[in-house]
Symmetry: none
Subunit: 214 residues, 4 copies
DNA sequence: AATGAATGAGCTTTCATTCAT
DNA sequence: TATGAATGAAAGCTCATTCAT
């Protein structure tokens, strides 16, 4: 395959750019550590089952002190979700810019989403998928706008694939089926197991493309 | 396609048998209505966000009266989940007994799972998929045994398909991808929309089988 | 010692008389069994900690059925306490009528109270002593009248003892000290142990009489 | 009599020492006031009949705030009981260290226990005696160890008395009779009445010693 | 008499949030 | 910024009692 992956350096630069633009907070800052903790706990125990005391304890402060950083628990969830989408959008855009072949472009999106959901620091994505209901109505619609942008990237690539007769299922529908397959992996994938992320991505790609794996 | 679907009568008879064996409660009984309500509310709002007062109000009794039927909220969740799996196992077995062709057999499983998760009385399945963490440890392992039996049915059919070279992805892995695709449908499928359950099932089948839809 | 004890037959006749007069219920009747159960449970777990469901279960009926026999849980407690005092008063009167010597008379009272509190079917007395606060105000004052009659018997005998210089502590005060010693025995006396009820009664007598045990 | 009583200053110093060692909480602290309140209410109404709302109201906070100080109502009871025994043990040891004559030593123990149970700040002792069953099993056995140490002090003094032929009833038995007499006093003694605590202690002593009051 | 479903007030406890220090 | 005591609404659950059958 001709796929060009993102280098670690490119990923790091991207994060730094977003931090500089004020779109996401620096991970080593107090707020950053809080968000990381929150993502992990929300993912492990669920939003409701995670108390602000759990959160505070996890980063070594008192529960009351949390509210100096964020006005409410709800806002913490919103930040976790928002930052994740923002980072994912930019990462995916970068990957697309490096690859022209539609197979590679689709593979890149799959890999990116898997990485976001499965690798160590990707707890936030799981929250995005499974703690959707934890957001109140206002926040849901706000996040929805970002989500539309995110999904647009997927649909565009799938439309390309359709034009080249690589897929038979309508793009919007296929995206939904893939979303399910990819997000569900959080329930079974073991990062230290035999199966690599790349191998999993290829399986999903082969399923999507409806052709035998090369 | 040569697929033989379950008739409404067969489904009804199956439910009645399970009721007679004491494995599930009659849906028109007090307990039955409670479980139905619980499944719907748990699905809509999540287990944690559903209070016993909500539940009681929904079926028109006082909150304290709930505990006349079930000793705890947790036990209600357990019952919802357990009954769903039991019913699904038997429904799937029946469907498998009616069809010999492996494509039909797989199509039957997909349809059955979709039906369970998407049609009006399928709220329980969503709970099974998404409220897993709501169960305490003891109940999780108890339910896990039933789940193994359920998954066995899927794996067996996928093994058959593999022997006939209909699928390229290893059965256990493919099942996981399908589980995700099918269960995620709860987040977007509209029962009253243009897409029929059968059409959706066929799309998923075609994705699984890795061959063009006939 | 010249003490004349009550025979089993005399005790039985006494109970029968009270039953015939309608002052206490027959122990083998439904109500009787209920009271016996209640006394035992109240004694073991306390009035508050004993639920009507516990009570019902103990005698093998449903909790709702209890209220065909007694209008409230409170009334059950009142009956237990009332019957106990009534029976004790009569038993003590009988014992006093059989003994003239003041040492014997006092010994009889002590033995009678110990018996009431310690022997197998004497759970009611413990309730009388320890579940006093479980009674509401109205019932407390009603029972108080009976209690006065009961205490009168003690005081009269202690006055006699005082006139004969057998005791040095004022009767009213001594009665209080003895009440404590006797009732506390419920917390440590083992009916099957080495110490007999009679030996214990003698120790208490010797303590009261302020003379060495003969 | 040659009895040397504890001075108010000595008592105060003892309390301070225990506070400094972290064994009991300062009475003027939030926790201290809570324990004091709890002891009084538990004594007056019983553990079960006292609600956490009663408790909170009594010290002027909201019921939820109680749990900032103690994790459960049960733990409040445990603390009340534990602190009482600890303080009593130390007070009794101090009294014993000041008196050599066995009569005086015994008189000191009696007085100390009476004081603990009857004077204004002695509600806790009543709880210890009468709310024993309110403790759960785990806490009962924990407290039991302290209680053994407490009882050891009594038994040792009674053994001395026996060696000097001052008592005729075996020490372990006599202690039980005295426990009853002393603890029962809570049900009748009026701190503002004619009878002084010291006079009551002497009566009990004379009853125990089996000799006329000198 | 007995059942068992239902009541409804009240229980202990949880928890996001506030605020004086 | 951080603390930690306090808030107060709401949670899950208990239980004496009622009542149609």
């Amino acid at each position: 395959m001709s796929f060009i992956a993102l280098s670690a350096q490119q990923t790091a630069e991207l994060s730094q750019q977003l931090i500089d633009q004020g779109l996401i907070v620096a991970p080593e800052s107090a707020k950053g550590r809080l968000l990381k903790s929150a993502a992990r706990l929300f993912r492990t125990n669920g939003y409701e089952r995670t108390t602000v005391r759990d959160l505070a304890k996890d980063i070594g402060i008192q529960s009351g002190s949390l509210f100096h950083h964020y006005p409410s628990k709800q806002e913490i969830l919103r930040s976790v979700v928002e930052e994740t989408i923002l980072l994912n959008i930019e990462t995916m855009k970068l990957s697309l810019s490096l690859n022209q072949d539609v197979r590679d472009r689709l593979y890149g999106l799959i890999l990116c989403e898997l990485q976001s959901i499965l690798v160590d620091n990707g707890a936030e994505m799981a929250v995005l998928v499974y703690e959707w209901r934890g957001l109140n109505d206002e926040n849901q619609s706000e996040i929805l706008k970002l989500r539309d942008e995110y999904e647009r990237l997927w649909i565009d690539v799938l439309e390309e694939a359709r034009e080249q007769n690589l897929i038979v299922i309508p793009p919007a529908m296929l995206r939904r089926l893939l979303t399910g397959s990819i997000s569900w992996s959080i329930n079974w994938f073991k990062p230290d197991g035999d199966l690599s992320l790349e191998a999993l991505a290829e399986m999903i790609l082969s399923m999507a493309l409806n052709t035998s794996k090369p």
